[in-house]
Symmetry: D2
Subunit: 266 residues, 4 copies
């Protein structure tokens, strides 16, 4: 079996730091880098992309609602046009840094409230998928496993990845227990590692309600804002290694022969 | 003789509109589109790029200091690293919209205070030029005629364009009379058109001090925030037509065979 | 009969202008001034407060969600703690300008999405009412007629004002027809003036569904962002004059003898 | 002898934390609280003001240029009108929280680049002093010892406080060694405590150039963003105690009988 381990990165802003990106980076195969809307000023983006490019992990754009103060975690009623445009803006901004670092953009994953809204709302999910496709149809769209976002990606003929969480509790409908609920985050590393192994090996997860849910995942998220993020990532990697699960980035679809960026099509 | 006519565009923001882009667009060969730092939210950028792509004018990124409230006109003491990163961020963001519209980015021009700072400060100008080159060495860097910015572009082996202004007064050292000075803007259309003609045909401009200054220009800026911008652009175009000056976009250098965007070089 | 006519003001931002405040000001008894969250930078606030103080109209804080790009019209999922704090912040900021102008703050009215959310959500409405009361219990809280916000104001023992709209369509439940619906704004001045008169004199409004709704209003809103705002305000004023309705600011409750601002209570 | 010990506080923003306010608070007599322009969202302001009010320290507004990304440390060319308005805005916003907490605002101190600009530029310093006076003439204006800002305060008939730094190096002209220079911050606690003692007891400081400078200080700043800020504050307090220096807030001038806030004067 194979799995991708991904981590959110570049979530510092100006004088404020968050996470220990360099330590976590050694243990994951993909990173999602903040694009300035919930975190990540241009300088932080450049440094994070350079770090990721040197570590040879797959680089993704972690696109968000425009809400620095709320860290992109407050739902906003945005139109599909606004969603399309803000997604395209952030992808372009990050891709520029990737290109300057001699790397290329590999995937796009919405962050926080946008992630949750796109999991439920097909029209919003379609707007995100169209922005990804219009930027580069070879990009992989990452979303909550089994939700509206991967479905929208498939409608846009994108490669999609179903994401599961080691350290977030699941509801019986496959959604994540909201962060405001007690027990939403699985603090104990052993329990989170066990949940990840059950998902990757057996395709199942135990819900908050106590039932068992079938859950297919292409990628597992390692939260970089845990205080023990590096240890957690290392423990998860060791457990997957022991279980003979190969940790490797998501595979991009074979690209059709495509025009170079910027050339008019047709 | 030939000349490029360029206009700043997409300077609305959210519920606030500025300029009459559609009217001016008919009279220019190039546009510089705001990238969200001094004006231009993502939705405005998408609509402006689409408008420009349909009008078949050359599309440029109008990169700025991060200052919506000051419209990018207040100088800020930014480091060269910050300048490099903010320039690359904005170019990438705009290029994404151009690409999605089936167009390509053609040039980069700093806005407002960043434009003036880059005209004087070689280190800042170098940071901008490096960001442009690292994004795409085929882009043209536009700056104040005879200033540090075109020189930095040449050091970075970019094609550069020297810009002159029809409706801004010049000092005897070739700098623009600061906007806070009386007479900085030439309000009268006939006088501004006459200044543009003198620059384009004769390579000279009369300074505020009354002297004559040699001034080579590759492109003339038509300010889109004049209330009479469309009329002004039309009058300028007619005068240049009558003088047998061909209005045409800046020529990009023949590109070397280059790797597709995103591929690692070497 | 008496009525207050209020208008939203100070909705320019930096280089962008909105509305024609000086013209409308002559026709209203109260103004609600943007506090920097949906519009109104500090300089605009100072000038708008000065204008209002000289015109001798009642000055209110027009508090909003933090969303310049969306002009405060996009609903955001904010907590009650965040709502309390952002309301208090904006009231304080505006009160400082009022005080410096030799005037005093008279009322508080939420703007846009916050106004609509506070009309429906009692907990959010309570957070706003507590912020108003904690700043100054003599302030009047203005909200949608018959909605949760005036009820919350009463729970906080504030004087409240029920607001109705001349140029917004009503649903049969007393809510406003959302702006995204056709016909949400009554464009025709005669029709809008007629609706205002029906509300003020007869306490009724005709809904979008065609029924008649009882509607008590203490204040009528004149939208300052209409292109014909000044004409509309004048026509409304003339119609009310002709109907012998006295236009006058909302009456503040007689203040209890209160400690000076800043002294610790008890 | 007596001295005030002040500390900058409330410099977290949204999901990002900075400093260990609760620990430092026990050792100082005054705090300067960020007002949302360089740090400090409304919720953080409310919590920090509540913390300070309960600790019974003097509460000041730490007003800044509008630059979250640069933490208020990048100089911007702002006009005196802009400076007046942004200062008044921030004072008002913070005073609202102080009032709601049953406390009162005691002083105003500019932050970062605004502090340095106001130390050099008399016109800018005057704009700040006028804003403070127009809000409340009983407030104390805190600025760099011997610089333009205390002079401007005196011109505005405000009580002023001359501030010195325990852990910043001085140039021979009495200015602070810029942060970009090596040795600008005195990292070693013993050396910083010794510098503070020399200033408080003897009125002298040793400059970077090695000379001795006379320096009168009313208040000593303890930087809250040092990783060892709490230890440093405790050690400084102990050294001052041992030297029989009484640590106490700045004394406000006896207020003239003044009209209540909001009443028109004259």
């Amino acid at each position: 079996a194979t799995i991708d381990l991904n981590c959110d990165m570049g979530e510092s802003f100006g004088a404020w730091t968050m996470g220990d990106d360099a330590s976590v980076l050694a243990h994951v195969s993909s990173v999602n880098i903040a694009c300035g809307f919930h975190a990540g000023d241009p300088d932080t983006m450049r440094r994070t992309v350079d770090l990721a490019a040197r570590a040879n992990v797959a680089i993704g754009a972690h696109v968000s609602l425009p809400d620095l103060q709320g860290f992109g975690r407050r739902e906003m009623r945005v139109s599909t046009d606004e969603t399309y445009a803000m997604t395209l803006y952030q992808i372009g901004a990050l891709a520029g840094f990737a290109h300057a670092a001699g790397a290329r953009l590999h995937h796009v994953k919405p962050h926080g409230a946008l992630y949750n809204m796109a999991a439920r709302d097909a029209a919003l999910a379609d707007a995100i998928a169209r922005a990804v496709r219009d930027f580069d149809p070879a990009l992989i769209l990452v979303g909550l496993a089994g939700s509206e976002l991967p479905r929208a990606g498939e409608r846009a003929r994108l490669a999609v990845a179903h994401e599961a969480f080691a350290d977030r509790r699941y509801e019986s409908d496959g959604s994540l227990t909201p962060r405001r609920e007690a027990g939403a985050v699985i603090e104990h590393i052993d329990a989170a590692v066990a949940q990840a192994l059950a998902i990757v090996r057996d395709g199942i997860v135990t819900t908050r309600q106590g039932g068992t849910l079938a859950l297919h995942a292409d990628t597992i998220c390692v939260h970089g804002d845990r205080t023990d993020a590096a240890l957690f990532a290392r423990r998860l990697r060791e457990a997957l290694d022991a279980a003979k699960v190969l940790i490797t980035p998501l595979a991009m679809k074979p690209s059709p022969p495509s025009p170079a960026m910027g050339e008019r099509v047709g």
